[in-house]
Symmetry: C2
Subunit: 463 residues, 2 copies
């Protein structure tokens, strides 16, 4: 910079550069919208991972030539691309129905006196083990109703660490654990702290939509890899590589998968995770359904030793949906970042609820018995579905089946609305999980007779 | 745009414009850093509301001349200014101690066997009314432990609306209420949904730091108005106008104020709120301490009929800190936006905790009795403080006194550390609430003898 210049001179130059930047940005956005129209006319998708990767390489070269800091340049590029994508997407208009909306509609009908069969949400039909409720009550009576530390009770973090030591033989320190109000919040914290504006999160469709929505809420973008029933929902290598080339910061995995029921084998998981990590991508593993595995479903903790975030919850395994408690396991450093944000947003998870979670981890037999119930319901549902004109991957675990309806011009959004209104069965449409309008997601965690009756009513529609 | 151009041509132009933008942004950031150094040498603050307002006017003129969309231009300008401020702030280095850190340090000492007097946090010393705990326990036993709607139980939203109708005579519809896990989350939701990146939030220092931190976590910026004890903590008109000129989107008010205990008179509040609203600024009112008013403290709901967000909590009035429950009151439209985000991040607040809150609102006599206890502790503390070499505004309400220590070169950060280590009294330093290194924040919500003993120990340090 040489000698000091005065503030007025510097400010004058800043003002003139600001003018130039504004003109160029405005021009760039106009061009993006023009490109968007051109893509629509050619029926091309708005997001083009290949074109983006190329632009990134170009920018990096330019940085070398001009002596610009590449980190800063890529951050700006992310913002520019993000702006473009948002501007182009505004031109699209296809409202999708989600499983949450179906649940809300079903609740409305129930409030009006209808009896609805719920195959749309993943809520266990049984209450938590009794000691869990007793522990929450005692916790309240004993005064665990005051402000607490944001990271969570040491007692609970120790119990979680020791649970993973027992079941997987992995060594987790309690400082690596953060107690959160449910896995949704765990996922939001992890994603919003990893992504800066415009940064990408790789996801594999079909998928529970919260990961993408959290990325977008945090100012980031989802980089979506479409997978197919024909491939048994395994992502294709070339798609995976292109997504990595797009400069993503994070990748979300969810096995057993909501909605497909797919699990990866240990070696498949290892290769995916290690390739991502080799490319500097942090892996977020949501293992909400791992206790409901009908064959071995490996954990992220078995294959990753750095750059990972595991999110899980007490909601499904211990039927504690309404208590809102889950957790993150990651490096001490990343966890301590998340603790600061949780402290700012929430102060802490109520201590008496944490006391209930400690007790839940002592109820393994009860949890295993419920998992066996789910497995048997899944078997029955699979048998029943085989008589219908649908194709599906037989779930390795979880609460859901994701069949494709083999009927021309089947529209899942329209069909689930008809099913709800005419047959009083609530089902999630495939469109809530990506571009899968021929698919339905069926949850099998309600009582066996309910699931069977629900499937019978559906069969009427499909035949 | 005339005729259609092909995608390759458009992309080529986008690429070349991208190059130009990157060069200019890089140059602009270098200039900002240079300006930051120049300011430091002249001992000028990094954020200069006047200079910013001028730049905004200039950009708006430019937009008119060039036919650029002013909304888009101002959004970009916010991002540019935000980038500059962040780059310049990185050069600063003054770590501040907050009341939360003091609490954590005090807890560590307690864990090591020390007995600490807590004058640093605002946690009521009494448990909640007994019916509140009973209601939570019954709620759990009755099965209010399942997924629920994100907005909160209608029963609770009705009770909140009717509570405001009863106490203030204002008409609130239950659809205007969102139940949140504490007022922190209410504030975060409101701020993060109102501010887009780089947008400003006006705050009045000295102030509880969460508003600014939420604005920054959401990618926005705090536009801080410094107020003075000499002015009885009332903001100066010229500062307020300059802040409005800076193009802020939102303004946070907190009366009775944490940390000063200041409340505004009805007409003062009305004029502040109406002037902000006239300028298109949404007003966020945090009324956490309103039930602890020693003279009438008006509510935002009495002076605002649109563009407002009220945040409050059951933590202080009903001593429910560890239950984590609060709420937002705003327009139906804004509330329905926040509901979507809460649904994404948290699903819902546990229903049995909402049941406890319903019961709390039936315990008004109990709440009023506790408020009287706090008022009498405050009187005693004020009397005791008058014998010390401190100056302060006599609180109109709340849990805190914010005295300035009349000693040359008094450093609150260093002093509170000494007090904690040598006298086992935990106090929050003024620096946690803005640029107030000669001030201390004393919380008076612990038992009377504790507060008195704590103040005696402090007097030793001050005399």
């Amino acid at each position: 910079m040489g000698e000091d210049r005065d503030l007025t001179t510097i400010r004058r130059e800043i003002r003139s550069i600001t003018d130039n930047i504004l003109e160029l940005l405005s021009r760039r956005l106009d061009l993006s919208i023009e490109a968007g129209s051109a893509k629509q006319k050619q029926n091309l998708p708005i997001e083009d991972i290949g074109a983006e990767a190329e632009l990134r390489h170009h920018v990096l070269e330019k940085c070398g030539a001009l002596g610009i800091d590449p980190d800063r340049a890529l951050r700006v590029l992310n913002i520019l691309v993000d702006d473009s994508v948002r501007a182009q997407k505004k031109q699209e208009s296809k409202p999708k129905i989600s499983h949450m909306q179906m649940f809300a509609l079903a609740k409305e009908l129930e409030a009006a006196g209808e009896k609805i069969i719920h195959l749309e949400v993943g809520e266990p039909d049984a209450p938590p083990p009794k000691p869990v409720i007793d522990s929450a009550i005692n916790g309240m009576k004993e005064g665990y109703i005051r402000y607490s530390t944001a990271q969570g009770l040491l007692e609970l973090r120790q119990a979680i660490a020791s649970d993973y030591r027992g079941s997987l033989g992995v060594d987790i320190h309690p400082d690596q654990v953060l107690v959160t109000p449910g896995s949704r919040f765990a996922i939001y914290l992890a994603i919003s702290n990893m992504l800066r504006r415009g940064d990408g999160l790789i996801t594999f469709d079909p998928l529970w939509p919260a990961y993408k929505e959290c990325a977008e809420a945090a100012g980031g973008r989802a980089i979506t890899i479409h997978t197919n029933l024909e491939d048994k929902w395994v992502p294709r290598q070339e798609d995976f590589q292109a997504a990595l080339d797009s400069g993503a910061k994070m990748m979300a995995l969810n096995y057993p998968c909501n909605p497909t029921g797919k699990s990866l084998a240990l070696e498949e998981l290892r290769s995916l995770v290690q390739e991502a990590q080799r490319r500097g991508v942090t892996v977020l593993g949501d293992e909400t359904y791992r206790l409901f595995s009908f064959k071995r479903s490996p954990s992220l903790l078995e294959v990753a030793d750095s750059n990972f975030v595991l999110a899980s919850t007490f909601s499904k395994a211990y039927r504690m949906t309404g208590f809102r408690i889950g957790y993150v396991i990651s490096s001490k450093e990343f966890v301590s970042k998340l603790v600061k944000v949780q402290s700012l947003l929430l102060t802490n998870v109520p201590e008496f609820i944490q006391k209930a979670a400690v007790k839940a981890l002592e109820c393994q037999d009860d949890a295993t018995r419920y998992a066996a119930v789910i497995e048997s319901r899944m078997k029955d549902a699979v048998t029943q579905l085989k008589h219908l004109p649908v194709s599906f991957y037989e779930p390795d675990g979880g609460f859901y089946i994701f069949p494709r309806v083999n009927k021309d011009a089947f529209d899942s959004g329209e069909s689930v609305m008809r099913l709800l209104k005419e047959k009083n069965v609530a089902i999630a449409p495939g469109t809530g999980f990506g571009d899968y309008s021929q698919f339905l997601r069926l949850s099998i965690c309600q009582a066996t007779d309910q699931v069977q009756e629900g499937l019978s009513r559906i069969s009427g529609l499909l035949k």
